[in-house]
Point group: C2
Chain length 318, copies 2
């Protein structure tokens, strides 16, 4: 896999999909008659909660890991993450036969701490602030020589995340719209790029919690706006857009919807009850947005990416 | 569909499978690398939690419903059930364009009450005793002329449940063993019969909670033994074997394992965390039994039927 210094094109995404094949599952697409009745449209859910490590992040991390030189690979991979990206980098390193150095905020969910350790990563805990994460990571990288894999401001990561939309459009060839949640924007920008190449008539929607609506505000203002609070239950969506993801999203995304915390919990519970699958709060945000804006999708075929299923069963919102 | 007055044979099962096609989903088979590592064998999970109404019971209820005469169909279907069989009869009646009359104990889980009502059934609540269920049902049948669909002591129901094993053996053709939980024994006897026809070398195991081990004791004693208590978390397995199911189970089942309540909860949580799917406590019983008896399955290919996913999210055991 090449180290990409530009937005991935379709050939990059196709190549990445082949090369990360052993690192990922091709996840199933599921439907629910009863949710369709409630929504008034035909929803296809791409189940990345069944992905390795339980989230789509495995796609981007492995695509970035495989782009390193042999010398870089030997020194290992590093990142800071409270969650799924940490596990993805840890498992990628394990499968590549090298080390992972993960900086995690001390208040990360137990399930994510245990899983990351379970993949053999060396974890350094830090205070739960962005500054502490960055400075601790800098120190880890200085000591080990490992390569920092940014969770989204990295064209190889974006290219890997784009393989999810590639599978989706291959399996369901006539989506009228595709929806994904927006955190740092890695999945959203990969989804948007891939859709613009493979099916340019499909409308592309992002969805965010109201209280971390940085992407929504950034699109309105035409420049990156950062979140002023991060206390959403959707713990995967607390991050801000980056330069690389913002540029792609502003160009390709049709609209960004925002939803309340209660709407997120209600949509999460609806999926648990009707579909019998476990999703984390971050990934019920697009369904919540759709149910809030039914008229935009009436009678249409809509694809929703269910991003992950790593939820702390000892600490559920219902 | 014929009304069966004898054990279903393979042709009956094949015919039933065709005729109930519009009433059921063909459910997927899933695997989990991490559970396989823990178990030391290769487990294939048949996901009836994704079945219509969220449980395998839809197979048997529809097979029984379709066997009624036109006159019987017109007067409707009736049953008593605290759970999944109620929903299955309710949806079967709805799809057949007739009425369902359901007697439910007043302490049934909320999710099951709401779902049954949601399918348009007429519900009569009764005291939570077997006697009250039967006498209330008798009264409902007397008043309406509806036909009682017994949850398991009915060869058409057994034949319908057998279609689950049929799909399983079609999709995974070389199972060394197949496991199912035992409540009244409808699924177990259907699974045993179908396996004896389609793949007689596959060993057939049942699994029960220790505190409702009526099937285990019945096999030991050579006659039906009834449960003396029913306070297991596995609410689908509180019932006793019937004449029809006992005769089939004693002839075909290799062995019945029993497990503790804690083992049931642990196995349920393991499936939720590792597979990201929602199953009810009753259906983690076979995995709990396998993990307790690993040496019997070492290195083998084992099929486990995950029977249902209707769990009250407001009342979880963890």
């Amino acid at each position: 896999m090449l180290k990409l210094s530009h937005r991935p094109d379709l050939v990059n995404i196709q190549t990445a999909h082949k090369e990360i094949n052993a690192f990922i599952h091709r996840t199933p697409v599921m439907r629910s008659t009863s949710i369709n009745e409630i929504a008034g449209c035909d929803i296809h859910f791409k189940c990345e909660n069944f992905q390795k490590i339980g989230a789509f992040k495995m796609r981007g991390a492995s695509c970035a890991g495989l782009s390193l030189s042999n010398e870089e690979k030997e020194k290992g991979l590093a990142t800071h993450s409270s969650g799924n990206h940490a596990q993805a980098v840890a498992l990628t390193a394990k499968l590549m036969g090298t080390k992972a150095y993960i900086v995690m905020p001390s208040n990360s969910p137990e399930i994510k701490k245990r899983a990351t350790a379970g993949y053999g990563a060396e974890i350094t805990f830090c205070e739960p602030t962005i500054e502490a994460r960055k400075s601790t990571l800098d120190e880890v990288v200085r000591q080990t020589g490992a390569t920092f894999i940014h969770p989204y401001d990295n064209y190889n990561v974006i290219c890997g995340q784009a393989t999810c939309a590639k599978e989706f459009h291959e399996d369901i060839t006539d989506l009228d719209a595709i929806m994904a949640p927006i955190g740092g924007g890695g999945l959203m920008s990969g989804t948007a790029l891939c859709t613009s190449y493979m099916r340019p008539t499909t409308r592309i929607y992002g969805a965010e919690p109201e209280i971390v609506n940085d992407a929504y505000l950034s699109l309105q203002k035409g420049e990156i706006v950062k979140n002023t609070r991060i206390d959403t239950i959707a713990d995967g969506l607390r991050t801000n857009l980056s330069d690389k993801t913002f540029e792609i999203i502003r160009e390709h995304v049709t609209e960004i919807f925002t939803v309340t915390e209660q709407e997120i919990v209600d949509a999460m519970r609806l999926i648990w009850e009707r579909m019998k699958i476990i999703i984390e709060p971050s990934c019920s945000v697009p369904l919540a947005a759709l149910l809030k804006n039914k008229s935009s999708f009436s009678g249409q075929k809509v694809g929703i990416i269910l991003t992950g299923g790593n939820v702390d069963l000892g600490n559920l919102p219902f």
